[in-house]
Amino acid sequence: MSNLNWTEIFGQAMDAAGVLIETQPATADHLSAWQIADRHWQKLAEVAMTHRLRWSAGWAEQGPEQFSVYVLFEKQGEYLQVRTSIDLNRAELPSQATVYPAANRSERHTQDMFGIKFAEHPDNRPWTRHKAWDKHQYPLRKAFAVQGQPEAITPPDLDYAFVKSHGAGTYEIPVGPIHAGIIEPGHFRFQAVGELILNLEERFGYTHKGIEKIAEGRTPESLARLAGRVSGDTTVGHAWAACKAMEQAANISIPPRAALLRGILAERERVANHLGDIGAICNDVAFTFAQIQFSRLREDWLRTQANIFGHRLLMDCIIPGGVKHDIGEADCDAFKADNVRLRKELSDIITTLDLNSSLEDRLYTAGFLSEDIAAAFGTLGYVGRASGQDFDVRRDAPYPPYDKVTVKVALENQGDIASRFWIRYKEIMASMKLIEQFMALLQAGEIATAWQIPAAGSSGLGIIDGWRGEIVSYVAFGSDNKISRFYPRDPSQLNWPALEKLVLNNIVPDFPVCNKSLNGSYSGNDL
């Protein structure tokens, strides 16, 4: 095997296919940037598929005369961002969703928000748009005012064409947008026979808050705050990705101490969420012992965070250029004590769960996601890793501070709920180790770099591994230090479609535990 970066070989293949590539300066490590003509957009996807590139993200941006449409691919930790430009008056592009199922909802989102038509798209229904704005209005176009022209009461979206089932004995179950528990809103449409799920269709967009639009015109500090609220459980992850993108645009690098502190914050966020999830998965099969124990452990963990960082969920700890709070010796001791306590507790509790036959009965083989389907949707994080997708930004495209340590990535290939349970446990153990390594590497120094105003038109692409998996954040600056475009791609966007597949042939009463094992973010998906 040669060490040749695959982008060169891929570039040759594109040449052979008659596609002219214009190489552009890359803004980050592990990232190449190309520009191609719009008519080759689908060809690009076809060649990318034969080279087994992973489709990672897609977004658009309006310039003075043209729309720029971007797609991001990844393979072996190397990213390739490809851009094409289309005329404002002829906003049409061949669809990549015909080749990559992962591009499906992303293109529908771009279609709803920019009015860019994706020709031959396999599913031309709206996605993010319900009834808050008119079909022929496009909120992310510059001419669209942020206040829009909403009706006094936005009517419900009643004409969405759900897939129908026919035949004796089949019936539909509509669920949501408001669910029975304390969770985010979204709609699930089941077709079932008896208790067996024949088909599930997700309908989201209920929590659409216009994040991309209201980001425009913000200052870097203000964008970091907003990014920290794209999905409340991933506040560190999204704030980090957005700040990383802004730092690239401003061409500044953060001090080593700030990078280590960000690493500690991100790993603590991962542990906190996994603790909550493990308990909740067990709770959804009525095993409340685990729920009580894990919610107790999570509370202990959050209280330490409140004491040290002043916020239980770690909101607003990451700022452009670095981090807000430094930590001292005593704080490091508190983190170490947390780890010691958690390891001891887990050794008790996890053994108990492992030996429990009722959990075994409910979690093993349920909610099976095959490696092929996981790969086809570009499934990320613990969902992907439980179905053999051996990818982690921290290891494969390492960024500070992960470039200073060896990141061991847990992997399972059983693809069931039990796999997604055990992956989380393994990730908790790995994260605690990382926190200790980061603390050992801490040296006195600055915790933030002074901000430099980025040149108008500069942009950055922040790619990090949040607790749910790879987060991609695109930020572009206009003049006067103001944001002109922000697009955060939460891992949920690629994981949600996998839920529609992994519930098939399960029974309706197992849907909650299937859903919890994936635990997608609605807010991060709807933006």
């Binding site: 206040q147 029975a180 304390i182 985010e184 809103p185 999570r298 509370e299």
Partner: protein, 169 residues
């Protein structure tokens, strides 16, 4: 099974054995809440939580009310699955326009007398998201609100204090 019971016994009741001053205060708070609930609601109050478009941060902290440290059910406060069973609607988020009708219908489905508590900065005043083509902003722009509990997100302790404030009205 033996391990399970050992763990339960060795964990003990964390709810009552915490000696930190914060938790003593919490206990006091709970007792006071309980007194009001007993007097006005015959010992029990049913809450329906509605996420009308939040980032999910507030939900995480509302969840924490049910962990064994806060164990809010011991004071007679419990969460129900239907607005038809609820005395109180606990609404989070700026109300997204796509959730506006759903929230209105939930409000209509809740029997009188009912209270609405807007939880978190977004629900109280629109927060980081404000009003836009996609967001109605504060909950009070959509349904009548009896009380707000600010915070981004409010901690479980602040939530409990807020609920107590509601009882005292």
């Amino acid at each position: 099974m033996f391990r399970l019971f050992t763990k339960i016994l060795s964990t003990g009741i964390v709810t009552e054995r915490i000696k930190a001053p914060k938790d003593a205060e919490l206990e006091q708070l709970g007792i006071e809440i309980k007194r009001h609930i007993d007097r006005r609601f015959s010992g029990s109050i049913a809450i329906r939580a509605v996420d009308a478009g939040s980032c999910n941060g507030c939900e995480l902290e509302i969840h924490a009310l049910n962990n064994p440290y806060y164990d809010i059910e011991r004071f007679g406060i419990h969460f129900v699955a239907s607005p038809r069973h609820a005395d109180v609607l606990l609404v989070t988020g700026p109300v997204s326009r796509h959730m506006q009708t759903a929230l209105l219908r939930t409000y209509q489905a809740t029997p009188n007398p009912k209270w609405v508590v807007a939880v978190g900065d977004c629900a109280a005043c629109g927060g980081e998201f404000g009003e836009s083509y996609a967001s109605c902003g504060a909950v009070s722009n959509v349904i009548p609100v009896d009380m707000t509990i600010p915070g981004c997100p409010p901690t479980p302790e602040v939530l409990m204090k807020g609920l107590l404030g509601l009882m005292k009205r």
